[in-house]
């Protein structure tokens, strides 16, 4: 395969990956953020303490997280069709990607929000703030550096998940690597794909770290801040990607 043959293929694959990962990250953040916050609020001693709701949400999140992505994709086909009208292509891949990432992100949000000092919550309550005020003025802004790190982790995990989207004809870098690189012995193309993935992931990681760190610094903290926490949080992510890939 010559470079002129590979180039359009790779270009299309890059866009497909970014398209799928972009949309599913957006949906995961929109869905996972409230879910993660609810997990904290409904917990024992939380502002909206509700042990039953907490157990139910926690259980749903656990089940969804432990599901291998490829199984989730197959299991959700009916749901995907009802939303996008099809079970193949990029749009169809976004649905299971997002649904798989929501509980993943929710757990990371939960961890980040739990680290917010309870004294701040008490302070806002003493000013007459309600639960919504606490969420808006304390929980989200105070955990923002960690939330950004969590988003980075989710994006990286989603790039891993998206390799399997090729099975429903959605394309993307992972799909190219498997179909051309593995099945057609185009080793060169496979390595190029791997290199592109490595660069993309590094750039995302760097940008995420930079954003989290500068926010953390702006709050006057010194040192690496949430970076260490990010590294710790990444472990289950890589494990999961390894498992499903």
């Amino acid at each position: 395969m010559t470079w002129s043959q590979m180039q359009p293929l790779l270009e299309q694959a890059c866009w497909d990956t970014l398209y799928m990962v972009g949309w599913s990250t957006l949906i995961a953040v929109v869905g996972g953020l409230p879910l993660g916050i609810l997990l904290v609020l409904t917990d024992r001693g939380g502002l909206l303490q509700n042990v039953v709701a907490n157990k139910v949400i926690g259980q749903v999140v656990n089940v969804a997280r432990s599901m291998p992505f490829i199984i989730l994709m197959v299991a959700l086909m009916g749901f995907t069709r009802s939303i996008t009208g099809t079970t193949i292509g990029r749009e169809a891949a976004i649905v299971p990607l997002a649904i798989g990432a929501i509980p993943f992100f929710a757990r990371l949000v939960e961890t980040a929000v739990r680290e917010v000092d309870g004294g701040l919550v008490e302070a806002v309550q003493s000013m007459g703030g309600n639960t919504w005020t606490v969420v808006r003025k304390v929980l989200v802004p105070e955990s923002l550096p960690s939330l950004i790190s969590s988003t980075t982790t989710t994006v990286v995990a989603l790039i891993g998940y998206s390799a399997m989207a090729g099975t429903v004809g959605a394309g993307g870098l992972g799909d190219i690597a498997i179909r051309y690189g593995y099945q057609r012995f185009e080793t060169q193309l496979m390595w190029i794909t791997v290199a592109i993935l490595a660069v993309v992931i590094s750039v995302i990681q760097f940008a995420g770290d930079y954003a989290a760190r500068s926010l953390h610094r702006r709050a006057g903290h010194s040192g690496p801040g949430p970076r260490l926490r990010l590294l710790r949080a990444k472990e289950p992510a890589t494990a999961e990607v390894g498992k499903v890939a």
Partner: protein
């Protein structure tokens, strides 16, 4: 001696109106519902804080101070009893559920609170921290920033408005905490160990600030602390808390005039051991007028006895000049009934040291 309050530019604003009243306040924590283990943090506390005074509740950790101050603005729901602040029964506003309704939240916004660990939002500047309660009150942007700068000026931090909390010292953080607590123009300020995380010098400056605000704004301050020095330097009234109960309470001068008061002994300790077993040791406490009478030399002349002074101190406690002297009279207590009676007749407060059951117990836990 200076008259009380002479050292302050502004005079006390204390009136007889009670601005905080708790009656029968009880808080029971159920640690483990199924096994029914219970911890009684507050056991029928009746607290009366007069308008415009600085009221200190002192006690060791675990005595229930923290629960008490949190029950006053209902951050903790009392199990029983009522809390009235500025004529409003907060316990009636609380409703049944654990969440605070609109009425209670509005009442809370009129009660300022400062915390041991300051509880400032690290992602907001000093000014934005002070604006937070005003945002909650729904004030416009211009009103908020005007008020915030005004308050920062009041606490002496006008030049730090744009800084983040992490760039401030502990004392400065607490000043921001105080400015923030004053944003809603409260009549009442609750102080939860506000100086316990600060060094002695900073503690003094923060206490001075609280005192000044109390005098300038007529602000009623209810503070809890485990440091006797806090009570000594700024409180008009004090209460001693032990095992969820207030075991002593009153104005500082009342307490000092109460024989065997643990608080008085701890507020104003005088040292000195008896030089022999056949001696009587007496603590003489005098406030105001009584201090000007030459009572000791009169005593010596009238009864022809030799008096040794073991220890003596004059101090300002809660703005009152108080003197305390520990003297030793020859002979056992039985031999000295008449001279001691003479001292009592002079209007002095007399505590005989070493009588059974009169050992003064220091409540001071010590600043760790």
């Amino acid at each position: 001696m200076h008259p009380p309050g002479h050292t302050h530019a502004l005079h006390s604003t204390v009136t007889e109106t009670h601005v905080i009243t708790t009656s029968g306040l009880t808080k029971i924590y159920r640690a483990d519902r199924s096994r029914g283990r219970e911890v009684t943090a507050l056991d029928g506390v009746d607290l009366h804080v007069r308008e415009g005074e600085v009221y200190g509740v002192i006690g060791q950790s675990g005595a229930g101070k923290s629960s008490l101050i949190r029950c006053v603005n209902l951050l903790e729901r009392p199990t029983a009893g009522t809390v009235t602040v500025a004529g409003q029964d907060l316990t009636a506003l609380a409703g049944r559920g654990p969440r605070a309704g609109r009425e209670l939240r509005r009442a809370r916004s009129r009660i300022g609170m400062v915390f041991q660990h300051f509880n400032l939002l690290s992602t907001r500047t000093v000014r934005d921290n002070v604006e937070l309660p005003l945002e909650i009150l729904g004030k416009s942007g211009r009103d908020r920033s005007r008020k915030a700068l005004e308050l920062l000026d009041l606490v002496g931090l006008a030049d730090k408005a744009g800084a983040y909390p992490a760039q401030l010292s502990g004392g400065q953080k607490q000043r921001v905490g105080i400015a923030r607590a004053l944003a809603g123009d409260p009549k009442v300020l609750l102080s939860d160990e506000a100086t316990s995380a600060l060094d002695p010098e900073t503690t003094r400056s923060i206490l001075q600030l609280l005192r000044d605000l109390n005098r300038q704004l007529g602000l009623t301050v209810l503070l809890i602390t485990h440091e006797m020095d806090v009570v000594k330097s700024i409180c008009d009234s004090a209460a001693l808390m032990e095992k969820g109960r207030l075991v002593e309470s009153g104005t500082v001068s009342e307490l000092l005039a109460t024989p065997d008061s643990k608080l008085a002994a701890a507020l104003f300790p005088v040292g000195g051991e008896a030089s022999g077993s056949d001696r009587t040791v007496v603590d003489v406490t005098f406030q105001g007028e009584a201090a000007t009478q030459p009572v000791i030399s009169q005593l010596s002349r009238t009864y022809n006895i030799d008096i040794s002074i073991l220890g003596a101190a004059i101090d300002t406690v809660g703005g009152l000049q108080v003197g305390r002297m520990r003297i030793e009279l020859p002979g056992h207590y039985e031999d000295n009934v008449v001279p001691i009676g003479f001292l009592r007749e002079q209007g002095l407060q007399i505590d005989v040291v070493g009588e059974p059951g009169q050992e003064p117990v220091l409540v001071k836990e010590g600043a760790k």
